[in-house]
Symmetry: C2
Subunit: 185 residues, 2 copies
Amino acid sequence: MHPLRRHIEEVVSLEDAEFDFILSHFTPINKRKHQYLMQEGEWINNEFWVIKGCLRAYVLDELGKEHIIQFAVEDWWITDYQAFEKGMKTQIYVDCLEDSELLYITKENREKLSAELQKMQQFWARKTKLGYIASQNRVLSLLKNTAKERYELMCAQYPNIIQRVSKKMIASYLGVSRETLSRLY
Amino acid sequence: MHPLRRHIEEVVSLEDAEFDFILSHFTPINKRKHQYLMQEGEWINNEFWVIKGCLRAYVLDELGKEHIIQFAVEDWWITDYQAFEKGMKTQIYVDCLEDSELLYITKENREKLSAELQKMQQFWARKTKLGYIASQNRVLSLLKNTAKERYELMCAQYPNIIQRVSKKMIASYLGVSRETLSRLY
DNA sequence: AATTTGAAGTGATGTAGGTCACAAGTGGAT
DNA sequence: ATCCACTTGTGACCTACATCACTTCAAATT
Protein backbone atom coordinates (compact mmCIF):
# COMPACT_ATOMS: atom_id res chain seq x y z
CA MET A 1 0.00 0.00 0.00
CA HIS A 2 1.22 3.53 -0.76
CA PRO A 3 2.69 5.06 2.41
CA LEU A 4 0.54 8.17 2.04
CA ARG A 5 -2.58 6.03 1.84
CA ARG A 6 -1.58 4.14 4.96
CA HIS A 7 -0.97 7.49 6.66
CA ILE A 8 -4.32 8.99 5.70
CA GLU A 9 -6.17 5.81 6.56
CA GLU A 10 -4.98 6.14 10.13
CA VAL A 11 -7.62 8.88 10.30
CA VAL A 12 -10.24 8.16 7.61
CA SER A 13 -10.78 5.08 5.47
CA LEU A 14 -10.52 5.40 1.69
CA GLU A 15 -11.71 3.66 -1.47
CA ASP A 16 -9.08 2.90 -4.14
CA ALA A 17 -10.53 5.56 -6.41
CA GLU A 18 -10.48 8.14 -3.64
CA PHE A 19 -6.82 7.55 -2.95
CA ASP A 20 -5.94 7.77 -6.63
CA PHE A 21 -7.80 11.05 -6.75
CA ILE A 22 -5.95 12.32 -3.67
CA LEU A 23 -2.56 11.25 -4.98
CA SER A 24 -3.18 13.05 -8.27
CA HIS A 25 -3.04 16.32 -6.32
CA PHE A 26 0.51 15.65 -5.10
CA THR A 27 3.86 15.92 -6.86
CA PRO A 28 6.97 13.92 -5.92
CA ILE A 29 10.26 15.69 -5.33
CA ASN A 30 13.66 14.52 -4.13
CA LYS A 31 16.16 16.65 -2.26
CA ARG A 32 19.68 15.98 -1.07
CA LYS A 33 21.13 16.66 2.34
CA HIS A 34 21.78 20.40 2.87
CA GLN A 35 19.31 21.46 0.19
CA TYR A 36 16.56 23.90 1.12
CA LEU A 37 12.83 23.57 0.55
CA MET A 38 12.36 27.22 1.43
CA GLN A 39 14.34 30.21 2.65
CA GLU A 40 13.35 33.41 4.43
CA GLY A 41 11.75 35.97 2.14
CA GLU A 42 10.39 33.52 -0.44
CA TRP A 43 6.71 33.15 -1.33
CA ILE A 44 5.80 29.65 -0.46
CA ASN A 45 2.87 27.75 -1.77
CA ASN A 46 3.51 24.12 -0.87
CA GLU A 47 3.10 21.76 2.02
CA PHE A 48 5.48 18.78 2.06
CA TRP A 49 4.99 15.22 3.22
CA VAL A 50 8.02 13.07 3.99
CA ILE A 51 8.15 9.65 2.32
CA LYS A 52 11.75 9.12 3.43
CA GLY A 53 14.37 11.33 5.02
CA CYS A 54 14.76 13.93 7.74
CA LEU A 55 14.26 17.70 7.64
CA ARG A 56 14.00 20.65 9.95
CA ALA A 57 12.23 24.04 9.96
CA TYR A 58 14.02 26.87 11.75
CA VAL A 59 14.23 30.62 12.16
CA LEU A 60 17.30 32.81 12.44
CA ASP A 61 17.21 35.54 15.09
CA GLU A 62 18.94 38.93 14.90
CA LEU A 63 22.13 37.42 16.32
CA GLY A 64 22.17 34.70 13.67
CA LYS A 65 21.19 31.99 16.11
CA GLU A 66 19.04 29.13 14.82
CA HIS A 67 15.84 28.12 16.63
CA ILE A 68 14.27 24.90 15.40
CA ILE A 69 10.51 25.00 14.97
CA GLN A 70 10.06 21.36 14.08
CA PHE A 71 11.74 18.28 12.70
CA ALA A 72 10.09 16.06 10.11
CA VAL A 73 10.85 12.41 9.44
CA GLU A 74 8.88 9.70 7.61
CA ASP A 75 5.09 10.40 7.63
CA TRP A 76 5.42 13.95 8.90
CA TRP A 77 4.16 17.13 7.23
CA ILE A 78 6.27 20.25 7.03
CA THR A 79 5.89 23.79 5.76
CA ASP A 80 5.67 27.35 7.10
CA TYR A 81 2.03 27.26 8.17
CA GLN A 82 1.95 30.96 8.88
CA ALA A 83 3.06 31.84 5.37
CA PHE A 84 1.03 29.03 3.83
CA GLU A 85 -2.23 29.97 5.57
CA LYS A 86 -1.96 33.72 5.55
CA GLY A 87 -0.40 34.09 2.11
CA MET A 88 2.70 35.81 3.44
CA LYS A 89 6.37 35.60 2.53
CA THR A 90 8.01 32.96 4.67
CA GLN A 91 10.19 33.95 7.61
CA ILE A 92 11.70 30.52 8.06
CA TYR A 93 14.12 28.03 6.52
CA VAL A 94 13.38 24.38 5.81
CA ASP A 95 16.33 22.18 4.89
CA CYS A 96 17.19 18.51 4.62
CA LEU A 97 19.28 16.85 7.32
CA GLU A 98 19.40 13.71 5.14
CA ASP A 99 18.66 12.96 1.49
CA SER A 100 14.86 13.04 1.36
CA GLU A 101 11.98 11.83 -0.80
CA LEU A 102 8.95 14.06 -0.52
CA LEU A 103 5.50 14.67 -1.91
CA TYR A 104 4.14 18.18 -2.04
CA ILE A 105 0.73 19.72 -2.52
CA THR A 106 0.07 23.32 -3.49
CA LYS A 107 -2.24 25.53 -1.47
CA GLU A 108 -4.68 25.58 -4.39
CA ASN A 109 -4.73 21.80 -4.66
CA ARG A 110 -5.13 21.46 -0.93
CA GLU A 111 -8.16 23.73 -0.97
CA LYS A 112 -9.60 22.02 -4.01
CA LEU A 113 -9.11 18.59 -2.49
CA SER A 114 -10.66 19.68 0.83
CA ALA A 115 -13.69 21.04 -0.97
CA GLU A 116 -14.13 17.98 -3.18
CA LEU A 117 -13.42 15.29 -0.63
CA GLN A 118 -14.97 15.71 2.80
CA LYS A 119 -12.67 13.02 4.17
CA MET A 120 -9.57 15.06 3.42
CA GLN A 121 -11.05 18.06 5.19
CA GLN A 122 -11.60 15.80 8.18
CA PHE A 123 -8.09 14.43 7.88
CA TRP A 124 -6.48 17.86 7.82
CA ALA A 125 -8.70 19.16 10.60
CA ARG A 126 -7.54 16.26 12.75
CA LYS A 127 -3.88 16.83 11.92
CA THR A 128 -4.16 20.53 12.71
CA LYS A 129 -5.83 19.90 16.06
CA LEU A 130 -3.13 17.42 17.05
CA GLY A 131 -0.44 19.86 15.95
CA TYR A 132 -2.03 22.60 18.02
CA ILE A 133 -2.18 20.34 21.08
CA ALA A 134 1.46 19.30 20.63
CA SER A 135 2.51 22.93 20.30
CA GLN A 136 0.65 23.89 23.49
CA ASN A 137 2.40 21.07 25.29
CA ARG A 138 5.73 22.35 24.03
CA VAL A 139 4.92 25.81 25.41
CA LEU A 140 4.05 24.29 28.77
CA SER A 141 7.24 22.28 28.79
CA LEU A 142 9.25 25.45 28.17
CA LEU A 143 7.40 27.15 31.03
CA LYS A 144 7.58 24.45 33.66
CA ASN A 145 10.48 22.09 32.94
CA THR A 146 14.25 22.49 33.29
CA ALA A 147 16.59 21.87 30.35
CA LYS A 148 17.28 18.35 31.57
CA GLU A 149 13.60 17.53 32.00
CA ARG A 150 12.81 18.84 28.54
CA TYR A 151 15.57 16.68 27.08
CA GLU A 152 14.25 13.60 28.84
CA LEU A 153 10.70 14.28 27.72
CA MET A 154 11.96 14.64 24.17
CA CYS A 155 13.89 11.36 24.39
CA ALA A 156 10.71 9.65 25.57
CA GLN A 157 8.48 11.26 22.97
CA TYR A 158 10.71 11.27 19.89
CA PRO A 159 13.42 8.60 20.39
CA ASN A 160 13.84 8.18 16.62
CA ILE A 161 14.60 11.88 16.13
CA ILE A 162 17.10 11.90 19.00
CA GLN A 163 19.00 9.13 17.25
CA ARG A 164 19.03 10.76 13.84
CA VAL A 165 20.00 14.37 14.44
CA SER A 166 22.99 16.04 16.08
CA LYS A 167 22.96 17.17 19.69
CA LYS A 168 23.36 20.71 18.45
CA MET A 169 20.03 20.46 16.61
CA ILE A 170 18.32 18.96 19.63
CA ALA A 171 19.70 21.75 21.81
CA SER A 172 18.34 24.34 19.41
CA TYR A 173 14.92 22.65 19.44
CA LEU A 174 14.86 22.48 23.25
CA GLY A 175 15.97 26.07 23.76
CA VAL A 176 19.27 25.27 25.46
CA SER A 177 22.91 25.78 24.44
CA ARG A 178 24.76 22.77 23.05
CA GLU A 179 27.33 23.08 25.84
CA THR A 180 24.67 22.84 28.53
CA LEU A 181 23.01 19.89 26.80
CA SER A 182 26.38 18.18 26.62
CA ARG A 183 26.89 18.66 30.37
CA LEU A 184 23.54 17.24 31.47
CA TYR A 185 24.95 13.80 32.15
CA MET B 1 -26.68 41.08 15.46
CA HIS B 2 -25.83 38.30 17.89
CA PRO B 3 -22.15 38.54 18.86
CA LEU B 4 -21.55 34.89 17.99
CA ARG B 5 -22.99 35.45 14.53
CA ARG B 6 -20.76 38.46 14.01
CA HIS B 7 -17.81 36.35 15.16
CA ILE B 8 -18.53 33.42 12.83
CA GLU B 9 -19.25 35.72 9.91
CA GLU B 10 -15.71 37.02 10.15
CA VAL B 11 -14.82 33.68 8.57
CA VAL B 12 -17.91 32.42 6.68
CA SER B 13 -21.14 34.19 5.78
CA LEU B 14 -24.41 32.82 7.11
CA GLU B 15 -28.12 32.85 6.34
CA ASP B 16 -30.49 33.72 9.19
CA ALA B 17 -31.72 30.13 9.33
CA GLU B 18 -28.17 28.80 9.46
CA PHE B 19 -27.29 30.96 12.41
CA ASP B 20 -30.45 29.97 14.27
CA PHE B 21 -29.51 26.36 13.66
CA ILE B 22 -25.97 26.95 14.92
CA LEU B 23 -27.12 28.81 18.02
CA SER B 24 -29.50 25.98 18.90
CA HIS B 25 -26.42 23.81 19.55
CA PHE B 26 -25.11 26.17 22.24
CA THR B 27 -26.18 26.69 25.84
CA PRO B 28 -25.69 29.94 27.78
CA ILE B 29 -24.02 29.90 31.19
CA ASN B 30 -22.94 32.62 33.60
CA LYS B 31 -20.08 32.35 36.05
CA ARG B 32 -18.79 34.70 38.71
CA LYS B 33 -15.21 35.74 39.33
CA HIS B 34 -13.17 32.94 40.95
CA GLN B 35 -15.54 30.21 39.78
CA TYR B 36 -14.11 27.30 37.80
CA LEU B 37 -15.24 25.94 34.44
CA MET B 38 -13.07 22.87 34.94
CA GLN B 39 -10.53 21.46 37.36
CA GLU B 40 -7.77 18.87 37.02
CA GLY B 41 -9.06 15.31 36.96
CA GLU B 42 -12.56 16.08 35.63
CA TRP B 43 -13.99 14.67 32.43
CA ILE B 44 -14.68 17.62 30.23
CA ASN B 45 -17.02 17.70 27.34
CA ASN B 46 -17.56 21.35 26.55
CA GLU B 47 -15.92 24.15 24.63
CA PHE B 48 -16.72 27.67 25.83
CA TRP B 49 -17.11 30.92 23.96
CA VAL B 50 -16.88 34.22 25.82
CA ILE B 51 -19.73 36.70 25.30
CA LYS B 52 -18.44 38.91 28.11
CA GLY B 53 -15.77 38.54 30.77
CA CYS B 54 -12.24 37.29 31.22
CA LEU B 55 -10.89 33.81 31.97
CA ARG B 56 -7.68 31.90 32.06
CA ALA B 57 -6.58 28.27 31.54
CA TYR B 58 -3.60 27.11 33.56
CA VAL B 59 -1.72 24.08 34.86
CA LEU B 60 -0.20 23.49 38.26
CA ASP B 61 3.29 21.94 38.32
CA GLU B 62 4.68 19.62 41.02
CA LEU B 63 5.79 22.63 43.07
CA GLY B 64 2.31 24.15 42.96
CA LYS B 65 3.33 26.88 40.54
CA GLU B 66 0.75 28.10 38.03
CA HIS B 67 1.57 28.28 34.32
CA ILE B 68 -1.00 30.05 32.19
CA ILE B 69 -1.86 28.35 28.91
CA GLN B 70 -4.17 31.05 27.59
CA PHE B 71 -6.40 33.91 28.51
CA ALA B 72 -9.86 34.36 27.02
CA VAL B 73 -11.79 37.60 26.73
CA GLU B 74 -14.77 38.59 24.56
CA ASP B 75 -14.99 36.52 21.33
CA TRP B 76 -12.40 33.95 22.42
CA TRP B 77 -12.83 30.20 22.72
CA ILE B 78 -11.51 28.27 25.69
CA THR B 79 -11.33 24.66 26.81
CA ASP B 80 -8.73 21.94 27.38
CA TYR B 81 -8.28 20.92 23.75
CA GLN B 82 -6.18 17.92 24.64
CA ALA B 83 -8.89 16.48 26.89
CA PHE B 84 -11.67 17.63 24.56
CA GLU B 85 -10.15 16.08 21.43
CA LYS B 86 -8.64 12.94 22.87
CA GLY B 87 -11.44 12.14 25.32
CA MET B 88 -9.12 12.31 28.34
CA LYS B 89 -9.54 13.64 31.86
CA THR B 90 -8.43 17.24 31.94
CA GLN B 91 -5.08 18.16 33.45
CA ILE B 92 -5.83 21.87 33.61
CA TYR B 93 -7.88 24.47 35.43
CA VAL B 94 -10.06 27.12 33.80
CA ASP B 95 -11.38 29.88 36.03
CA CYS B 96 -12.96 33.31 35.72
CA LEU B 97 -10.86 36.41 36.37
CA GLU B 98 -14.06 38.49 36.06
CA ASP B 99 -17.78 37.69 36.15
CA SER B 100 -18.39 36.10 32.74
CA GLU B 101 -21.20 35.33 30.32
CA LEU B 102 -20.47 32.30 28.20
CA LEU B 103 -21.94 29.98 25.61
CA TYR B 104 -20.85 26.37 25.52
CA ILE B 105 -21.14 23.55 23.04
CA THR B 106 -20.69 19.88 23.84
CA LYS B 107 -18.30 17.69 21.90
CA GLU B 108 -21.25 15.77 20.47
CA ASN B 109 -23.01 18.92 19.31
CA ARG B 110 -19.78 20.24 17.84
CA GLU B 111 -19.31 17.08 15.80
CA LYS B 112 -22.96 17.04 14.77
CA LEU B 113 -22.84 20.67 13.73
CA SER B 114 -19.60 20.18 11.78
CA ALA B 115 -21.10 17.24 9.92
CA GLU B 116 -24.37 19.02 9.14
CA LEU B 117 -23.02 22.42 8.25
CA GLN B 118 -19.95 22.54 6.06
CA LYS B 119 -19.46 26.20 6.93
CA MET B 120 -18.93 25.39 10.59
CA GLN B 121 -16.34 22.78 9.73
CA GLN B 122 -14.57 25.48 7.71
CA PHE B 123 -14.91 27.93 10.54
CA TRP B 124 -13.41 25.60 13.12
CA ALA B 125 -10.67 24.47 10.75
CA ARG B 126 -9.71 28.12 10.31
CA LYS B 127 -9.75 28.80 14.06
CA THR B 128 -7.62 25.74 14.76
CA LYS B 129 -5.04 26.69 12.14
CA LEU B 130 -4.74 30.19 13.56
CA GLY B 131 -4.44 28.79 17.07
CA TYR B 132 -1.68 26.47 15.92
CA ILE B 133 0.19 29.32 14.26
CA ALA B 134 -0.15 31.50 17.36
CA SER B 135 1.12 28.69 19.56
CA GLN B 136 4.15 28.13 17.31
CA ASN B 137 4.90 31.83 17.53
CA ARG B 138 4.70 31.64 21.29
CA VAL B 139 7.21 28.76 21.29
CA LEU B 140 9.55 30.79 19.11
CA SER B 141 9.21 33.79 21.37
CA LEU B 142 10.15 31.64 24.37
CA LEU B 143 13.17 30.34 22.45
CA LYS B 144 14.53 33.58 21.07
CA ASN B 145 13.34 36.52 23.17
CA THR B 146 14.30 37.77 26.62
CA ALA B 147 11.70 38.29 29.34
CA LYS B 148 11.52 41.99 28.52
CA GLU B 149 11.13 41.38 24.80
CA ARG B 150 8.37 38.85 25.42
CA TYR B 151 6.55 41.34 27.64
CA GLU B 152 6.78 44.04 25.00
CA LEU B 153 5.56 41.70 22.29
CA MET B 154 2.62 40.77 24.48
CA CYS B 155 1.81 44.43 25.13
CA ALA B 156 1.77 45.03 21.40
CA GLN B 157 -0.26 41.94 20.58
CA TYR B 158 -2.76 41.85 23.44
CA PRO B 159 -3.00 45.37 24.92
CA ASN B 160 -6.53 44.71 26.18
CA ILE B 161 -5.42 41.67 28.17
CA ILE B 162 -2.47 43.53 29.68
CA GLN B 163 -4.90 46.13 31.00
CA ARG B 164 -7.36 43.66 32.46
CA VAL B 165 -5.28 41.10 34.31
CA SER B 166 -2.72 41.36 37.12
CA LYS B 167 1.00 41.50 36.48
CA LYS B 168 1.31 38.22 38.32
CA MET B 169 -0.90 36.55 35.70
CA ILE B 170 1.04 38.12 32.87
CA ALA B 171 4.30 36.93 34.41
CA SER B 172 2.96 33.42 34.64
CA TYR B 173 1.88 33.53 30.98
CA LEU B 174 5.25 34.86 29.86
CA GLY B 175 7.28 32.36 31.87
CA VAL B 176 8.95 34.88 34.15
CA SER B 177 8.70 35.57 37.90
CA ARG B 178 6.48 38.46 39.01
CA GLU B 179 9.48 40.09 40.70
CA THR B 180 11.49 40.09 37.48
CA LEU B 181 8.53 41.43 35.50
CA SER B 182 8.15 44.20 38.07
CA ARG B 183 11.83 45.13 37.69
CA LEU B 184 11.82 45.41 33.91
CA TYR B 185 11.24 49.16 33.94
C1' DA C 1 -15.63 50.23 60.02
C1' DA C 2 -12.48 46.67 60.73
C1' DT C 3 -10.00 42.95 58.85
C1' DT C 4 -8.14 40.06 55.54
C1' DT C 5 -6.37 39.19 51.00
C1' DG C 6 -3.98 40.08 47.10
C1' DA C 7 -1.14 43.33 44.08
C1' DA C 8 3.00 45.48 43.32
C1' DG C 9 7.64 47.18 44.28
C1' DT C 10 12.33 46.37 45.87
C1' DG C 11 16.73 44.76 48.29
C1' DA C 12 19.87 40.83 48.99
C1' DT C 13 21.42 36.72 47.47
C1' DG C 14 21.45 32.26 44.80
C1' DT C 15 21.67 29.45 40.52
C1' DA C 16 20.59 27.45 35.99
C1' DG C 17 22.20 27.99 32.05
C1' DG C 18 24.88 31.04 28.62
C1' DT C 19 29.24 32.37 26.45
C1' DC C 20 33.96 31.89 25.16
C1' DA C 21 37.87 29.17 24.39
C1' DC C 22 40.22 25.10 23.39
C1' DA C 23 40.93 20.12 22.25
C1' DA C 24 40.01 15.66 20.27
C1' DG C 25 37.56 12.85 17.15
C1' DT C 26 34.88 11.90 12.76
C1' DG C 27 33.00 11.90 8.23
C1' DG C 28 32.85 14.11 3.62
C1' DA C 29 34.84 16.34 -0.22
C1' DT C 30 38.67 16.95 -3.48
C1' DA D 1 45.61 10.50 1.21
C1' DT D 2 44.74 15.05 2.76
C1' DC D 3 42.06 18.57 4.24
C1' DC D 4 38.20 20.79 6.10
C1' DA D 5 34.04 21.37 8.25
C1' DC D 6 31.40 19.70 11.81
C1' DT D 7 30.47 17.32 16.20
C1' DT D 8 31.10 16.62 21.02
C1' DG D 9 33.12 17.41 25.40
C1' DT D 10 34.92 20.35 28.99
C1' DG D 11 37.06 24.18 31.83
C1' DA D 12 36.51 29.07 33.31
C1' DC D 13 33.75 32.68 33.84
C1' DC D 14 29.45 35.54 33.35
C1' DT D 15 24.53 36.99 33.53
C1' DA D 16 19.61 36.85 33.25
C1' DC D 17 16.49 35.60 36.02
C1' DA D 18 14.73 33.09 40.35
C1' DT D 19 13.96 33.00 45.17
C1' DC D 20 13.22 34.83 49.70
C1' DA D 21 12.04 38.47 52.62
C1' DC D 22 9.88 42.59 53.71
C1' DT D 23 6.91 46.76 52.79
C1' DT D 24 3.14 49.56 51.08
C1' DC D 25 -1.24 50.06 49.26
C1' DA D 26 -5.80 48.99 47.41
C1' DA D 27 -9.65 46.18 47.20
C1' DA D 28 -12.55 42.55 48.83
C1' DT D 29 -14.89 40.28 52.61
C1' DT D 30 -17.08 40.12 57.15
